[in-house]
Every structure is written in structure tokens, then in C-alpha cells.
């Protein structure tokens, strides 16, 4: 492998890079609005996020130097390492607001559940790429992948972090969309899913998580809890109007009506201060990344690259759709952060590396 191939520079994947950077920068600006403190020019959370973004950018560019096909080789150890971290976090993890999700690394905290998304995507891309190309996938072929998802998902539910576990499951299931699967198998998978939900409900879910589900079915149930969050969030987004109230002028967010405004409900801060113009801009940028990602999958020179791109697109798609859906009141409050916009270093880092991999696949489509 040459260090820097001239063709790599010629074929630099500008669209993803520019759109990704734009979303990340909007995220930083929006975090300034979402921070409760007003003393410094750059609040603590926005400042940290900026540092993570710099780190993510460096890592993104670094991954470009490496041929993505190398990932096929490290897929298994990477997955194993992430599982070990997920086990470790249950014992030595830091607890914040009743959830044990982070490993303390001194100045920063690592959230292994974010890495697990990437690990699973790479692993599945490898599994699918190595399959015999013609034979359709039967049910038995899905048992092993299901176990591969179930292990990290169960560990993450235990933390508890229902949202991330959910994203992990739907992203993995989305791979079925681009493989040959029998209809009967899909029906059985649905049945299995129902069984899994039942088991999770009985053994893994915390009371507050069950409460959220009840609340979505019956919003009157808890006026202080999730339903209230949803109502306040809709008021924030709606009151932004076409052009928004202006930077740092959102009354809902500035007056702390919004819950979790730096993480799960960061999009409502954007909606209030920048209006439909702001939310549409971000959504269009997102859509650009998704479509461009699918194009990269389409033009990939090998199946591994195609599946890798599909997985990454699926990650952005589901997390984005679930979060925005939750903020604008069409989905229950499940606690899924918005990629690139919500506060969270490990998540931002994971997203930027994921974008780097997309670019990687794109830039190597002519090299063989």
C-alpha cells in the first residue's frame, strides 16, 4: 500500500466531507445555545465537543490512508474488544443519572456502546461479503448474526441504554434489506423479535423504561415525565416558525423548559432558534449524506465496501429518523441521540470515523 496515492487525492470524496463537516459545525454552534451556562463565550460542553470534533477530524483523515479492506481482517478482534469494554463498563463504568455507560479516561470518558455500532457494521459487512453470492439466505443462516447482535445489545440494555440497543438492532436488521432473504424467514424474524421484546420486558427493562412505553401509549399518565418532554419539545420547535427566534434567543431552551436539551432534545433547540430554515437545512444535509452514501455503496468495487457503506448509511438513517421523530412528537421518547448534533464525544468520534470509512470506500473505487 502506498502512503498517499495520487489517485486518492484526485478522487478525494468532497461531498461527504463537506456535508459532514457542515453538520458537525452546526452541532457545535447549536450546543452553545443548548448549554445552560452563559458565562463564557464557549460553554464547557461546546468546548469539549469542539475538541472531540478535532480529534474526530484527525482520525477521519487518518483512516483515509488505510485501505478499508484492512478492516475486513480486524473485524473480529475489533468486535471482541468492544464486547470486553461493554462487560468492563458494567463493573467499572461511571454512573451518570442512574446509567452506567462510560469508562473514565481521565480528562474524557469513553462510551463503548458507541463503538459497538461501528464494530457490528464492519463485522456484518465482512460476513455478508464472504457469503456464497447466489444462494438465498435461510433462517438458520440468521441465527449466528442474531447472536452477534444480541450479545452487545443485552449488555447495553443492562447499562441501561435502551436507545442505543434499539439502534444496534435496527441497523443490523437493515442489512436484510440488501440481501436475498426468503419471505418466510422475515416472518420468523418478526416472531423472534416479539419474543425478544417480551424477554427484555420481563428481565432487563428498568421501571423507568417501562414507564416510558406506557407513557407513549397514554400521555396523560405522567404529566412530569416523558409526555411533558414531548409537549415542551413540540412547543419549542413549532414556535421557531420559518426563520426562528435567532441565536441564543429561544425562550423554551434558554429558560430551561426543554429536557435533555444538550443530548436527546438538541434538535428542538435548533428548531426554536433557527426555524424551519435551520431544521430543513440540517435535514437536507443529512439526506445528502444518506443518498451520497448509497451511491458510494452502489459504485463500490467490492461487496465488502458496498455493505460497509450500507451499514453506515443505515446507522445515520435510523438514529436521525428516530431522534427527529421523537423531537417532533411522532415517535415515543426512547433516548436516541442525534448523530453529529447531540453532545457526546464518543458518539461524535464514531460518526466522523464512519464518514471517513464512507469516503474511504468512495475514494478507492478506482483502485484495485
Amino acid at each position: 500500500m502506498p502512503g498517499i496515492d495520487r489517485r486518492l487525492i484526485q478522487n478525494f470524496e468532497w461531498p461527504i466531507f463537506v456535508m459532514g463537516l457542515a453538520v458537525a459545525l452546526i452541532g457545535i454552534v447549536n450546543l452553545i445555545s443548548a448549554s445552560p451556562e452563559r458565562s463564557a463565550f464557549l460553554p464547557d460542553t461546546a468546548w469539549r465537543q469542539l475538541v472531540w470534533m478535532g480529534l474526530g477530524l484527525a482520525l477521519l483523515l487518518a483512516t483515509l490512508l488505510l485501505d478499508y479492506r484492512t478492516l475486513e481482517r480486524i473485524a473480529v478482534p475489533f468486535y471482541g474488544g468492544v464486547i470486553l469494554l461493554l462487560v468492563a463498563v458494567l463493573f467499572i463504568g461511571r454512573i451518570v443519572n442512574g446509567s452506567q455507560r462510560w469508562i473514565d479516561l481521565g480528562p474524557m470518558n469513553l462510551q463503548p456502546s458507541e463503538l459497538s455500532k461501528l464494530a457490528l457494521i464492519i463485522l456484518f459487512a465482512r460476513l455478508l461479503a464472504r457469503r456464497s453470492a447466489t444462494s438465498p439466505i435461510g433462517l438458520l443462516d440468521l441465527v449466528f448474526p442474531a447472536v452477534l447482535v444480541a450479545i452487545p445489545a443485552a449488555l447495553i440494555v443492562k447499562q441501561p441504554d435502551l436507545g442505543t440497543a434499539l439502534v444496534l438492532c435496527v441497523v443490523s436488521a437493515s442489512f436484510l434489506a440488501v440481501t436475498r432473504v426468503r419471505i418466510g424467514s422475515i416472518l420468523l424474524i418478526v416472531a423472534g423479535g416479539v419474543a425478544a421484546v417480551t424477554i427484555a420486558w420481563l428481565f432487563f427493562l428498568h421501571d423507568y423504561q417501562k414507564e416510558r412505553v406506557f407513557t407513549f401509549m397514554n400521555p396523560e399518565r405522567d404529566p412530569l415525565g416523558a409526555a411533558y418532554h414531548a409537549i415542551q419539545s413540540q412547543i419549542a420547535v413549532g414556535s421557531g416558525g420559518l426563520f426562528g427566534k435567532g441565536f441564543l434567543h429561544g425562550s423554551q431552551s434558554q429558560l430551561d423548559f426543554l429536557p435533555e436539551e444538550q443530548t436527546d432534545f438538541v434538535f428542538s433547540v435548533l428548531g426554536e432558534e433557527w426555524g424551519f430554515v435551520g431544521t430543513a437545512t440540517v435535514l437536507v444535509l443529512y439526506l445528502g449524506i444518506l443518498i451520497r452514501g448509497l451511491m458510494i455503496a452502489h459504485s463500490s468495487k467490492d461487496l465488502f465496501g458496498a455493505y460497509l457503506a450500507v451499514g453506515i448509511v443505515s446507522l445515520f438513517f435510523w438514529a436521525g429518523a428516530i431522534n427527529v421523530g421523537m423531537v417532533i412528537g411522532v415517535l415515543p421518547v426512547v433516548g436516541v441521540p442525534l448523530p453529529m448534533l447531540s453532545y457526546g464525544g464518543s458518539a461524535l468520534l464514531t460518526c466522523m470515523v464512519a464518514l471517513g470509512l464512507l469516503m474511504n470506500v468512495s475514494m478507492r473505487r478506482y483502485i484495485f
Partner: protein
């Protein structure tokens, strides 16, 4: 060109076809989200803008009434009383500093305190009412109410606060309340608590917090820019907490507290039912008033409580550890009988001293007791008899018998913070001091001086087992937990921890000695004679040395500094044949057990018997 499309394999073709379908789905979902956003922000934007500007929904939390704590007879010990508070809504107040100083003037509160309660408004909702004065008296409330029209953004509110009806009575047992700490909020077991929640800090309040606290409700109110409540949007009623019934008898508790605090600075009383282990009274003196904590304790007062040399926050009944003095002699006696080193009639001559090697140990009575058997030795608390017996038994056999009585280990009472006391052994001393056990240590040990440490609770439970026929019950203060409607959620029954592995003859001989202590000539516990209804009691005095005085130089109390005086013990049971109550009393630095501690025990037993008789006569108030 090795492009995906160019390979031509069927799998690739499928992927290609599917990718187009996926792209269609992605675009469709995004169009859905954009449409919904367009509807929310552009079509309905004005509606939401108005509701945001009218500052919309104010959420009020409605705290659940905390469960009531009663004594065994249904007497309410801890309930609620109304507190009148003044609150300020920052958003509706034009000039906060002026408003605060006017509130301070009207309520007579210190301006600095009012400012501190208001706190730093940054980082919290401008619509959230902030409490600036708590628990106003009616006059102050009337003054504020009269000026409300001129004070924009100020409101008054009645909230229930915890009321400890009898002030410092049973304070250690009941505990107190405080705000849940930041360190607790970070832990999983506290995940149902929110910042600002009230939580039990000590005693029953802490132990049964999850039962007592109930579940808060809430109200969402639509309010206008002036803070007027326009509409109740939704409400969930709070679920009241469960009620707790204790085994404590409040009348007995008060009798014990009154007797102990009459002449003494510090001490403890434990009264229990030897047939069940139910605690009837649990007193630690000095105490504190939990009402002070209910409205947020003043930092200065807190410093005062924590730096008080008499340590009022410590529950001496289960946390105070003291040498047992002569109350220990039952251990030596049981050991001697069980090991058949003595019989009931074996005699020893007490000449007032006991020689071991080159040292001489004196009996407390100069001149000695003459010829004594076990019974007389217990009655008159003869030291020489037990010196000899203790040396014959040796430290480790003494330790065995003490342990069988439940000493040197926690009794398992349903309160936290209990201390285990200490039963020394050879090995223990060698481990701690690095010096071997010497027989002289055994001599002091066998009359309860030296290294033994007991809590007043342990003394009561050990004697209860001796006098109830040899059954050790777990002492407990909780009788039952009830739902607000009276349905019993959890009832506590007598729990047998074990039986004393001693012969009935041994226990009978010791018990007979203890009855003699009260009722025979020269007995050290004669204060317990002539109880109401002619009931006979038994008991044992104890005087625990705090500072070793020169042998034989028993100074008069007045000559000794308070902190160097001996601790006074007394333990008693009544009626003598089938005891229904056991009382242990410890008076710190009280001097002699028979004169300092026994009168307190007498007051408690008298109250107990009197109440029983009143109950049977049907004239109980």
C-alpha cells in the same frame, strides 16, 4: 474496472436493485419528517409561538404525604403539620432584590437568609417558583398576605412538613429528614429520587424511606405572563406513603427519658419484652429535636450538634460501648456452673482480697464478704468469688460463654449503625497488642472490668435470654407497615435467633441470684423493691471503671472529675418468675450502678406495671 455493476453476479444485481429501493424509502421518510416540520413550524408556527410567549405550561410537583409513624398503641409519634411558605417567581418579579428585602422585612427573617434561599437564578427556569421563606408563623403570614397585591411575582403556599410530635423524644430511633445528596443521586439504588427530594437520614426515617415516602404526583398548569393559573391541563394525584407502627410504648419511652435526663448528662435506656424481642423503649441521652432538620437545619446549629462533647447525634443504646462492670458476673457464673467448676453450694471465703502471683486484687467491700456461695456472691456482688472462678475458667472459656449470650456481636436489631461490642480472647489481645494474655487480665475480666465492651442493647438482650428460659430473640422496633387504608403490608413476628446451650438448672440458679440482688438483705439492687402490685423484680448492678484508681482508694464522687467517674449500669427484669419486661440502664460517668442507674430502671418498670394495671382495670386514658 472491477465495479460492482460490472461483476455481473446475481448477488450484486440484487444489491443494486435493493439499493434503489432503499434510496426511495430514505427519501420518503425524510419527506415525511420535513412535512411534519413544515406543519409544526410554518403552518402552526404562530400557535406555538403564542403558547411559548404566554410562557405556557408550569409544572408543579405535588409531594406525596409521608407515612405516619405511631407507637404500639397507635399514638402518633411522627406526622405532618402545615408550613406556610413564601415563594418568588423570577419571571414575574420586576425587581428581585427589592422584593426580597421587602419579604425579609415583612416576615422578620434575616435578609441574607432570604437571599441565600433565593439562590442563583442562573441555570434554572425563570418560571419555577423559588421558596424564599419557610414555615412562617401566622402573624408573619398575615403581614405577607396583606401586601401580596403590591408584590408582583410573590405567592404564598401551604406545604405539609414533617412533625415530630414529642420533640426530642426517641429522636435517634425515629431519625430525621434531609435533602437527598448529590452523591446519592449518582447511585443506582437512588434512581427514583430527583434533585431536591426529601429523604430519611437516620433511624426509621432512613431505614423505611421507600415505604414512608410514597409517590409524588404532579400538575401541569397553563399560566399567563403574570403567573395567573389559567387552566389545569392534567394532574396525577400523589400516592401517600405507608404508615409504620413501632413496638415502642411512648409512655414508657417518656418515663425513661424523664428519669434519665433528670440528674444525668448522658446515658441510655433499653426496655424490651423478653418474650418477643420487641423493644418497648430505646433512649439515648442527650438527644436533639428532629423538627429542626425538617425545615432545613441551620449550619451553625449543625456545627453545634456535631461538636458537642456529649455527642447528641450518637445513639448510645446501640452505638455506645462500655465495660459491663459487675453485670458481667452472670457470664462467669454460667461458665462455672456449666463447666462444673462449682456447684450451687460451693463456698469461697472472701477476706476482701484475692492474691494472684505477687499481685493482690481487692473486693469492692473492704474487709470482705466472709464465706459466700454462688447465690450470695451474685446478691452481694462479691468480687473475690468471681476472681477465683474466672481464673479457673480462663479467658477463652469466658469468651465462649459471653458469645453464646450474644455478646461481642451485633444483636441484629432492625436499625442501622449498631456496634458489635467486644469479647476479648487470648488471640485477640496478642493480635492487637503483640503482648501475651496474662492471668491478671482474666482477673479483671471476670468481674467485668478490663477489655470487655457491651452496648446497652446487648446487655438487655443477653439478660432477656437468661431470664426467659434461654431463648434469644432478635430485638426489633418495627411492628408492622400498613397501607394508608390500614391494610397490613408487612408484619414483624418474634424471630428466634437461637437457644442458650445451658442447662435449666444453671439458668435457674443465676436467675435466683438476680432476684436475690433486689430482694435479699445486703443485695445491691434494693431500689427495685416494693413495686406496684407487689410484683417482684430481679436485676444486677454494675459499675464500670473509666480510670483505674489506686487499689482500695475509692474516692468520693465529688473528688473525681466528671469524665473520670465510673459508668453506672443497672439491668432489671420483672416480674421475677415470668418476666414481661427487661430494662437496661447506662449512665455515663454516673458513679455507682445501684444509686445512679437503678432508680431510672425503677421508674421505667413502675410505669410499665402501672400501665398494665390501668389497662386491666379499664381506666387507661
Amino acid at each position: 474496472m472491477n465495479r460492482l455493476t460490472a461483476t455481473g453476479s446475481p448477488a450484486d444485481a440484487i444489491v443494486e436493485r435493493r439499493l434503489t429501493a432503499v434510496a426511495v424509502i430514505v427519501v420518503a421518510v425524510w419527506m415525511l419528517l420535513l412535512t411534519r416540520l413544515f406543519y409544526l413550524q410554518v403552518v402552526q408556527g404562530d400557535v406555538y409561538r403564542i403558547s411559548a410567549e404566554r410562557n405556557s405550561v408550569r409544572t408543579q410537583r405535588v409531594d406525596a404525604p409521608r407515612g405516619v409513624i405511631t407507637d404500639r398503641n397507635g399514638e402518633v409519634l411522627v406526622g405532618s403539620r402545615p408550613s406556610f411558605d413564601v415563594l418568588v417567581v423570577p419571571h414575574e418579579t420586576e425587581d428581585v432584590p427589592t422584593t426580597l428585602s421587602r419579604i425579609a422585612g415583612l416576615t422578620g427573617r434575616d435578609l441574607e437568609t432570604v437571599r441565600t434561599s433565593y439562590g442563583d437564578p442562573r441555570g434554572r427556569s425563570r418560571f419555577q417558583p423559588q421558596r424564599v421563606a419557610h414555615d412562617l408563623d401566622r402573624d408573619a403570614l398575615a403581614r405577607v398576605e396583606g401586601r401580596l397585591w403590591a408584590l408582583g411575582g410573590v405567592l404564598t403556599q401551604v406545604t405539609p412538613v414533617r412533625g415530630y410530635r414529642y420533640g426530642d423524644s426517641a429522636a435517634h430511633l425515629l431519625g430525621w429528614l434531609g435533602e437527598v445528596g448529590a452523591d446519592q443521586l449518582a447511585r443506582k439504588e437512588f434512581q427514583s429520587y430527583r434533585r431536591g427530594d426529601i429523604i430519611g437520614v437516620g433511624g426509621i426515617e432512613k431505614l423505611l424511606d421507600t415505604d414512608l415516602r410514597g409517590r409524588p404526583g404532579g400538575r401541569n398548569l397553563l399560566v399567563d405572563a403574570h403567573g395567573r393559573e389559567l387552566q389545569l391541563l392534567s394532574a396525577v394525584d400523589p400516592e401517600p406513603g405507608r404508615n409504620v407502627v413501632l413496638t415502642i410504648d411512648h409512655r414508657l419511652q417518656e418515663a425513661a427519658e424523664a428519669a434519665l435526663s433528670r440528674d444525668h448528662k448522658s446515658g441510655a435506656v433499653v426496655a424490651l419484652d423478653p418474650r418477643t424481642g420487641e423493644i418497648l423503649a430505646l433512649v439515648s441521652h442527650p438527644a436533639f429535636d428532629p423538627n429542626e432538620f425538617a425545615i432545613g437545619v441551620d449550619p451553625e446549629r449543625w456545627r453545634e450538634l456535631t461538636s458537642d462533647p456529649f455527642r447528641p447525634l450518637m445513639n448510645r443504646a446501640l452505638q455506645g460501648q462500655y465495660p459491663p462492670g459487675s453485670t458481667y458476673k452472670v457470664v462467669t457464673a454460667i461458665g462455672g456452673l456449666e463447666e462444673k467448676l462449682i456447684g450451687a453450694h460451693s463456698e469461697v471465703t472472701c477476706g476482701g482480697w484475692f492474691r494472684l502471683g505477687r499481685r493482690t486484687y481487692r473486693c469492692w467491700r473492704p474487709g470482705g464478704h466472709g464465706v459466700v456461695d454462688l447465690h450470695t456472691a451474685i446478691v452481694q456482688s462479691c468480687d473475690v468469688f468471681f476472681y477465683k472462678l474466672g481464673v479457673d475458667l480462663g479467658v477463652d472459656r469466658l469468651a465462649y460463654y459471653a458469645r453464646e449470650l450474644g455478646l461481642g456481636a451485633r444483636t441484629g436489631i432492625d436499625l442501622s449503625g449498631e456496634m458489635s461490642g467486644l469479647v476479648p480472647t487470648k488471640e485477640w489481645k496478642e493480635h492487637r497488642d503483640g503482648t501475651p494474655w496474662v492471668e491478671g487480665d482474666t482477673v479483671s475480666l471476670s468481674i467485668g472490668q478490663g477489655m470487655n465492651l457491651w452496648t446497652p442493647l446487648q446487655l438487655a438482650t443477653a439478660y432477656a435470654a437468661i431470664v426467659n428460659g434461654g431463648i434469644r430473640y432478635r430485638p426489633h422496633v418495627l411492628k408492622r407497615i400498613e397501607e394508608p387504608d390500614g391494610r397490613i403490608v408487612h408484619g414483624v413476628d418474634a424471630e428466634v435467633l437461637g437457644e442458650l446451650p445451658f442447662s435449666p438448672q444453671t439458668l435457674a440458679a443465676v436467675r435466683s441470684g438476680l432476684v436475690g440482688v433486689v430482694n435479699e438483705p445486703h443485695g445491691t439492687g434494693s431500689v427495685m423493691k416494693n413495686l406496684p402490685g407487689g410484683v417482684l423484680a430481679g436485676g444486677k448492678t454494675g459499675t464500670a471503671q473509666v480510670v483505674a484508681l489506686p487499689q482500695g482508694a475509692r474516692a468520693d464522687l465529688e473528688d473525681v472529675e466528671h469524665q473520670d467517674r465510673d459508668h453506672a449500669w443497672f439491668v432489671t427484669f420483672a416480674p421475677a418468675d415470668e418476666p414481661r419486661i427487661v430494662v437496661s440502664v447506662l449512665v455515663e460517668h454516673g458513679g455507682h450502678g445501684g444509686s445512679a442507674a437503678a432508680p431510672i430502671a425503677r421508674d421505667v418498670v413502675t410505669r410499665f406495671l402501672q400501665d398494665e394495671m390501668d389497662l386491666y382495670a379499664g381506666n387507661r386514658p
